[in-house]
Amino acid sequence: MSGPDLDPLDFDTPRFTIRKPAVRYDQQGDASDAERSAAAVRAFVRDMSRTAATYMESCIRCGHCAEACHFYLASGDPAHTPIWKLEPFRQAYRREAGPFRWLYRKLNLAPEPAARELREWQELLYDSCSMCGRCTLACPMGIDIAGLVAQARHGMFAAGLVPHELHAVAERAEREGSPLGATPKVLKERIEWLCDEHAVEIPLDLPRAEVLVTLSSIEIMKYPKSIVATARILKHLGVSWTLRSEGYEATNFGLFSGNADWQRDMSLRVINAALACGARTLLLPECGHAYGAMRWQGANMYGKPLPFRVLHVTEFLADAVRGGRLKLKPLAGSITFHDPCQVSRRGGATQAPREVLAALGAELREMPAAGNANWCCGGGGGVVTLHRADEHRYRAFEIKMKQVEATGAQRLATSCSNCRLTFDDGQAHYKWDHRIESLLELVAEQLPT
């Protein structure tokens, strides 16, 4: 079994995850194969809502989703076709919940997905799907394949068939409050250091504040200047804000790993922190999946509407630009922007970073297929944590590199620390001469003096 002692974190490489395991444990617990299979099917069936059933019934097996998937294009392996990644889920649906389930069961037309099959599908559901949702754009039936993959992961978790690294970091996040060891103690130390080093004020545990700021562990451990940038911008805007040590971690590895209970726990920590300080706005950091997890799923974890706004930091900045509260010094040269899939394509906030870039006055050179159709960096959905996925992920990243190079822009920015981590790792792997920057940090640098 994986655990904190067996799975030390590795901060010496561009990509932060646990150290490459000497022996992989890609299954958890000691359940028999039959029990794993039954547990997966039970979880699959729980997730078969009206929407999931509609999608399961509607696929016409046209294969258009393959061409939209960076992992399929990188491997050319038909098994990486997005809809094929859902085959065990589809089998379970037909057998247990579909309109003709009695026929499928009687004639065994859709056998119960066996543990052997689920093990085979682990690579398809975790290593080669970043849940970027590009396939939905290509699907003539409009099937939300990424959403279904997230649901299928619930079954995989129930079966105890989560990849080693992802289970280890998710379990750590549930236990310690952070997947990368950014515990409340570490956060406090970091804040003290940042305040000293950068002469900024970073309020922690204020009893009341208008805005509750949340962070990504990746920022805390790898890109702490983002925290400084946030503090400078909020001070410039005169906002009353705080971090809270009981709920600061915006990433949600419960979501990635497929454990809905952990996802709820992680969401509730942040929600309760916002409630405790009476925040009217919950500010999410530069993190793509944190946006999906809190902006679109947070209230559902809470079980009722949230009594505060949830904003990605780029939406917050765009709002300030629109309201005339944020004016910036011009940024020289040309820039291109990498859209984090969960914020732009799947989150609906595609225009916000563009409004901020316009306020920066830089020449924006859009990538081919920019914005909603943007190619994923390949690191989302927890893929970047998986050592065994590296080779495939690097090949998928080549698509992204070509997209960036086609712009000829001098600078490259994004608004997701996980994308940034993936770019840094890809840059080091290919010795690529492009360095990705944080849009948030660029804004802080261009604040009027």
Binding site: A53, T54, R61, C62, G63, P78, P99, I143, L306
Partner: protein, 224 residues
């Protein structure tokens, strides 16, 4: 009972009933699955308009995303060919009118012959594509091939009838070739019987699926 009588009578009634009831059952079970409440604050509230937009937008090639272009163009062609033949050909309109009382002007026969040809060639290309493309071969099962066959059969059996001039029923006491007509009708009835059970049900499900995504994604302002 003559074969034609059987095809026009009990077989037609039974196949139509299976089609309607089967499709209704399929939709009833799908729509009867539990719906999840969404408590997130919507970005947009024009969900019905978004759902309708998606139904129509998804009829066009996607923007910014490369798809299998030739396959998509072929799909447009054979769908158009099938629709024209099914609803534009004089005998088919007369057939529908006989049972429903609803009729409309037919398209000229030469247009129908071209449409049939396009549909048949398009379906053959689609089958070759399905058999030769690695992705499609992996995704395909019995439903894909059988559905192809039950769509192709009425086209082929219909083509066997078109060398005989069509005459409306009052002029022709008995059809020119009752055996061939019966086979044509039976092939249509096979299609009707299969439709609710396989992928051909996408004729109805396409609206449900696109509506669902359209409404959900419009709520978020996400890309469709």
């Amino acid at each position: 009972m003559e074969l034609l009588e059987f095809a026009r009578g009990p077989a037609l009634a039974a196949s139509a009933a299976v089609c309607v009831l089967g499709l209704a059952w399929r939709l009833y079970v799908v729509l009867g699955r539990p719906a999840r409440a969404d408590y997130s604050e919507p970005r947009r509230s024009d969900l019905v308009a978004g759902a309708m937009r998606t139904i129509f937008a998804k009829m066009l090639p996607p923007r910014g995303v490369k798809v299998r272009g030739v396959a998509m163009a072929n799909a447009y062609l054979y769908h158009a060919g099938l629709a024209l033949v099914a609803f534009g050909f004089a005998p088919h309109i007369r057939f529908i009118e006989r049972y429903t009382g609803i009729g409309w002007p037919a398209l000229p026969d030469p247009v129908m012959y071209v449409a049939s040809g396009v549909a048949i060639v398009g379906l053959v290309i689609a089958l070759i594509d399905r058999l030769s493309d690695r992705v499609l071969r992996l995704l395909s099962g019995f439903d894909d091939y059988f559905s192809w066959a039950v769509v192709m059969l009425p086209l082929l059996t219909g083509m066997a009838l078109i060398d005989r001039p069509y005459q409306p029923a009052p002029q022709a006491a008995t059809p020119v070739s009752p055996g061939l007509l019966a086979i044509h009708l039976l092939s249509l009835e096979l299609l009707l019987v299969w439709l609710p059970f396989g992928k051909l049900a996408h004729a109805a499900l396409v609206f449900v699926s696109r509506w669902r995504t359209g409404a959900d994604f419009t709520r978020k302002g996400a890309a469709i």
